[in-house]
């Protein structure tokens, strides 16, 4: 058993290092993982079946028996993603760029809902200082904006370019001054920017003239997602856990053999999460269920798996179907304007959000969006919820909004 585990771990390590070795890719080469044909057929088949017979295939375990797992326990089981593989890719790419002195700027685009800011995390881990964005309220003040003096360092890192502007008629001055400074400076810069902010900045300030060739990490397909989530779930605190599909009963995240896991689940998760690791992680976490009466209470002892050996008792966490959310049927356009603004700015306070919307009353949509799980609060800030991002993106696209590449 130990030999098998070691072999599996070394196999995992070789796959991960293979991704690390390849580094980042140009933004235009990012391809979202495709939905497996079987899954597409299954979805259409289920819809047709529902139309004809009004019944559904019985799941392995009744969903009424399952309940959402307590958040504190989830943090124990699947810790918030540090996105190690992404940071490794950034490290590899930036180190190669630092050795080659031909280009003064390295520009990395990240998908939205990056709550941990991978660029900032990478900079801290690598010992680089980051340049903080000015306070957003100062961006639109009538006194005008003046770029603070930037220390002359070997490498200047601006991890969140989205924090340097506000979509307001006076809100572009800071980002313009920053880009002008970069184009005139002899220093070297690493920029990070979310993909929605980047689409906006290309249009509003022609940022692609100063920051050409944006790069992005490789998409997290089925194989990469399985490796990453397996690594996250293989911590000591989760040794006695097994993750099983509530529909088929199959072991979704088998640690014994790479071939033993539920490939279909990860293909679907990769496609639904658009190849974005933190979106996949949040969807995965949202789908975890424990059986009724068990584990929901933080103090409760883990229950036994029905097939477990007395020696190797394992707790079962059930993975339910990945659910979609729907926008409020009334005032859909207002809801989409709010979501679009939040995606562009990454996060906004209520006052800042009002500045970016056509009418101040549009912000009244916030409670409805929070209750439906599209956005959430982090202190004074409102942010789009990562697990809802695929649904938000799909709704914005259907309504014809300007889109980002990812």
């Amino acid at each position: 058993m130990t030999v098998t585990m070691t072999a599996a771990k070394s196999e995992k390590a070789s796959i991960v290092s293979d991704f690390e070795l390849r580094g980042m890719i140009p933004l235009e080469d990012f391809e979202q993982p495709s939905t497996p044909n079987q899954e597409t057929l299954r979805i259409w088949g289920a819809r047709l079946k529902r139309l004809v017979s009004q019944s559904e295939e019985a799941p392995f375990i009744n969903s009424e028996q399952l309940q959402a797992t307590a958040l504190s326990h989830l943090d124990e089981i699947v810790s918030p993603p540090a996105c190690g593989p992404v940071i490794d890719e950034i490290n590899k790419t930036v180190n190669a760029w630092l050795r080659d002195e031909t280009t003064p700027v390295k520009f990395i685009v990240t998908p939205p809902c990056d709550e941990n800011c991978v660029i900032e995390t990478w900079a801290k881990r690598s010992g680089f200082n980051t340049l903080d964005a000015p306070d957003r309220s100062s961006l639109i003040s009538s006194d005008g904006f003046h770029l603070p003096a930037i220390k002359h360092e070997e490498l200047v890192i601006i991890p969140r370019l989205a924090d340097w502007f506000l979509r307001h008629r006076n809100g572009l001055r800071a980002v313009r001054e920053l880009l002008q400074f970069v184009s005139e400076s002899d220093q070297r810069f690493v920029f990070g920017c979310n993909s929605w902010a980047w689409s906006f900045l290309v249009k509003a300030v022609e940022a692609d003239m100063v920051l050409p060739q944006p790069e992005i990490f490789r998409p997290f397909d089925e194989e990469r997602l399985h490796e990453w989530l397996s690594a996250l779930a293989s911590a000591d605190s989760t040794q006695n856990l097994q993750f099983r599909s509530s529909k088929t009963g199959g072991n979704v995240l088998s640690s014994d053999s790479a071939a033993d896991h539920d490939k279909d689940f990860f293909e679907t998760l990769a496609a639904r999460s658009l190849g974005i690791p933190w979106v996949a992680w949040h969807m995965w976490r949202k789908a975890l269920r424990s059986e009724d009466g068990e584990m929901a209470d933080d103090d409760a002892e883990p229950f036994e798996a029905e097939r477990g050996d007395r020696e190797e008792r394992k707790t079962t966490l059930w993975i339910s179907e990945i659910e979609s959310s729907s926008l409020p049927s009334q005032h859909t356009q207002t809801a989409l304007l709010v979501l679009h603004s939040l995606l562009i700015h990454n996060r906004l306070t209520l006052a800042e959000l009002k500045c970016t919307l056509p009418a101040a009353g549009d912000a009244n949509m916030l409670p409805a969006l929070i209750s439906r799980g599209f956005i959430h609060r982090d202190g004074p800030y409102f942010l789009c919820t990562p697990s809802a991002y695929p649904d938000i993106r799909s709704a914005l696209s259907a309504a014809g909004f300007p889109m980002s590449s990812i």
Binding site: R169, K203, A204, A398, A399, G400
Partner: protein
């Protein structure tokens, strides 16, 4: 009767001269069925496609709306081609008789109606307007909500429904603002007192359009400046991502543009009212 002609050839000559089939041989049930099915199919297309277009992806909206008149034309043509041989005895002679009679009737009684019908068919192929387009015909500007056999129905910004016969395409200029695309140019006009920093105002207005939530990113923004005897005229031109937002977009640009001009130390002026010399 020519004694040299056989009885069979004489019979066929009689049949050739007969315009309408024997009443007993006409299948009225079949004709009724064809008419009913065609009407049902056209009615369904007119209801279902706009319904789906309004609720489905914006990208497919104009295609779905534009398919309605084409489907109706195809179904009507097929039904007529199916029904005519069931009623009429179609020969070359009979065709000339029917065509002559129809020409007289149309020429005297239904001239305008026929002109509109033919213009409607021409409009399907020439496409001066399609459902979903924003057009100006005469003094009426609105969205083409329905393309009928004889006329189109325009819904104006004031929510009036204007019926315009197709035959206006023979005589009037048709101004189509989007011509089948999903966006159209919107213009916000500003009149500023001369003597202010024009470049500063132009840059401020550009930012007004660039930061609008309704802005489409695919098309350019431009600010055109024109000097008038009494003011400097700024035209802020930009495209919304959805043409249905055009009035919200213009309103939003106008309101924020006025604030931007004031902040840039500009003075917004109004057109002087012409006052008769006697007053």
């Amino acid at each position: 009767m020519n004694p040299l002609k056989s009885p069979a050839s004489a019979k066929s000559a009689d049949e050739a001269l007969r315009l309408i089939n024997d009443l007993q041989s006409i299948s009225f049930g079949r004709i009724t069925m064809i008419v009913a099915v065609t009407w049902l199919a056209i009615h369904a297309a007119q209801k279902i496609l706009p319904f789906v277009a309004e609720r489905g992806p914006t990208q497919a909206r104009l295609y779905l709306l534009g398919a309605v008149p084409i489907i109706r034309l195809v179904l009507l043509t097929a039904a007529i081609l199916w029904i005519v041989p069931l009623i009429f005895n179609i020969t070359f002679q009979n065709f000339l008789v029917i065509a002559g009679a129809a020409s007289v009737a149309i020429g005297f009684a239904f001239k305008d109606y026929a002109s509109s019908l033919i213009a409607g068919i021409v409009a399907i192929f020439e496409r001066p307007y399609r459902p979903g387009d924003w057009v100006k015909i005469g003094g009426d500007y609105g969205e083409v909500r329905q393309v009928g056999l004889r006329a189109i129905r325009l819904q104006t910004a004031a929510d009036d429904m204007v019926t315009v016969p197709h035959d206006r395409i023979w005589t009037d200029n048709i101004s189509n603002a989007n011509d089948g695309s999903r966006t159209l140019m919107c213009i916000a006009n500003f009149y500023v007192a001369p003597g202010t920093d024009g470049a500063k105002i132009k840059a401020a207005l550009w930012d007004v359009a660039a930061t609008s939530p309704y802005l489409g990113y695919q098309k350019p923004i431009s600010v055109i400046v024109q000097q008038l005897p009494w003011a400097t005229h700024y035209m802020l031109k930009a495209y919304p991502f959805d043409l249905r937002d055009q009035f919200s977009f213009i309103s939003e640009m106008t309101l924020r543009g006025k604030l931007a001009i004031v902040e840039a130390n500009g003075e917004i002026v109004s057109a002087p009212i012409a006052v008769p010399a006697s007053e």
